[in-house]
């Protein structure tokens, strides 16, 4: 990446973040929703941790990892919303004319998504620690956990940007959020996979979000499991949706 691409990326990210800070209506819902899910699941369902064979030491931590990955994924989706808004308002077309390297534009959105997600994750983590979350993992485990969340954020941003670049309208926002919502909730959200019943258990066996959740929970508890599989899934999805986003950018360029 040369200096000009970096300058474009920085400018796009800075604009996006300034817009967020100056518009509470854009920033508060993505901040409040993870907290709300964490409160409802970790608070309301904590007795589920006492189910025989649950096998995880702390239900608060169990739900924290789900909310962490959900926050990471929806941080990317909400950035896709902003991208769609920029296209439907015509601002993105002016950016395309002004930017010498369009890769920098995509990079700017990815960077902005990461920054906004880091802020929300920090907030949720403080709440989880106050709520008594137990952290069994060492420093390396935790770096592994948060790096995994960062990759999930990039994956979701690339997916949502691919949709935003193809449709270039806010009407496409359900196409960004519904698939992410479905993938996340067809994984072991409330209980470990072996306690899931019916069709969700069958779907969860093939759902990449299962590997991400299981690895994340293992890293938080200091008992890493399926880490290579989770990273493989995350990096594979990043490559796949990177291509999807790139082709979306080409489609947007062709559309003028």
């Amino acid at each position: 990446m040369n200096g000009r691409t970096a300058a474009v990326a920085f400018a796009v990210a800075e604009r996006h973040l300034r817009k967020l800070v100056s518009s509470p209506a854009l920033f508060i819902p993505p901040l409040v929703f993870p907290l709300f899910f964490f409160t409802a699941f970790a608070g309301g369902l904590s007795a589920v941790g006492d189910v025989p064979d649950f096998g995880y030491p702390d239900y608060t931590g169990f739900q924290y990892v789900f909310v962490l990955l959900q926050t990471a994924a929806f941080g990317g989706v909400f950035t896709g919303f902003s991208m769609a808004a920029d296209w439907s308002s015509g601002f993105a077309r002016r950016m395309m004319l002004a930017a010498p390297h369009r890769f920098g534009i995509a990079l700017g959105y990815v960077g902005a998504a990461l920054v906004r997600t880091v802020v929300i994750v920090a907030f949720v983590t403080v709440v989880a620690l106050i709520a008594g979350m137990q952290v069994g993992g060492n420093g390396i485990d935790l770096v592994g956990l948060y790096a995994l969340a960062a990759i999930v954020n990039v994956v979701a941003t690339l997916f949502a940007s691919g949709i935003a670049l193809r449709f270039r309208t806010m009407s496409a926002t359900p196409l960004m959020q519904i698939p992410v919502f479905l993938v996340l909730f067809m994984a072991p959200v409330y209980t470990p996979r072996h306690l899931l019943g019916g069709w969700v258990h069958s779907v969860a066996n093939w759902n990449p979000a299962t590997a991400l959740l299981e690895a994340g929970r293992g890293l938080l508890a200091g008992r890493p499991v399926s880490v290579a599989l989770a990273y493989g899934c995350a990096i594979g999805l990043a490559a796949l949706f990177g291509l999807f986003s790139l082709r979306g950018m080409r489609a947007a360029e062709r559309a003028g």
Binding site: D50, V51, L182, G198, V200
Partner: protein, 257 residues
């Protein structure tokens, strides 16, 4: 034109308008069923907790669908009326001899019909998926009545919000608030099995818990007079407060226009 005739005309418009908006209706039918499917499989293990009232989580979770339908009623009724305010339809209507009561009652007809469709669909899907309604056919009918009453009450809250705020975006913003009320209730576990004291306290003070428990009692317990009475009481209080508030706001809104 009599009051009844006026109600009929507005109700006809409201019902047709609701039915002609698949973008509003489909999510309100599909989303609760999706969550039912996911939660009944995902939380099936919770039935192994000592004291859990049923061995099939589907029976337990089915009640939540009816409350989600009521939450959708807030945004459907409210958004439709807010659109009428924004497009000036309400202003034009205020020039006619149409009575406020007719406007209000007629406007709620759309969510009443939708509530009826939703209740029947959830019962049919629930039974097809293996749920049992312990109170039998009579209980299913009471379930439909309670569900429609609750939808109408929440629809009145949506109408009240629309009249106060006059903007469909603002009414849509109420949906997450209502969603929070549902999640902070006894929707996922019985109150006596909620381990966190503060959550159990919030759920006990949250009126939505009693609506969920009223519906759930018909599915799991059979005829539980206390749970049913509390469910109907909360539902009627929501309806009365919603209609009283909406009626007062309608007076102000029509004076303003």
């Amino acid at each position: 034109m009599t009051l009844l005739q006026q109600v009929r005309w507005i109700a006809q418009r409201s019902v047709l308008r609701t039915i002609r908006q698949p973008a509003q209706i489909v999510p309100s039918l599909i989303f609760p069923l999706f969550l039912l499917a996911v939660n009944s499989a995902g939380l099936d293990a919770a039935t192994k907790l000592p004291g859990f009232p049923t061995s099939n989580y589907l029976n337990f979770a089915l009640a939540v669908c009816f409350l989600q339908a009521a939450l959708f009623a807030v945004s459907i009724a409210g958004t439709d009326l807010a659109d009428d305010i924004q497009t000036g339809f309400l202003n034009r209507l205020s020039l006619t001899p149409m009575r406020r009561a007719a406007l209000l009652l007629g406007h709620l007809a759309g969510v009443m019909v939708l509530g009826l469709i939703q209740a029947c669909l959830y019962i049919l899907v629930g039974i097809s998926a293996g749920a049992d309604i312990e109170a039998g056919v009579g209980g299913a009918l009471v379930l439909v009545v309670l569900s429609v009453l609750t939808c109408t009450g929440f629809g009145a809250i949506g109408v009240l919000a629309a009249l106060r705020m006059g903007s469909s975006e603002a009414v849509q913003g109420l949906f997450p608030v209502m969603f929070v009320l549902l999640f902070l209730s006894s929707m996922s576990l019985p109150r006596d099995l909620i381990a966190n004291d503060w959550f159990r306290t919030v759920a006990t003070w949250n009126p939505v818990s009693y609506l969920v428990e009223g519906v759930r009692s018909l599915i799991i317990t059979g005829w539980d007079g206390e749970a049913l009475a509390l469910g109907f009481l909360v539902s009627i209080v929501v309806l009365v407060l919603g209609i009283a508030g909406a009626s007062a706001s309608m007076r102000t809104r029509l004076v303003r226009t």
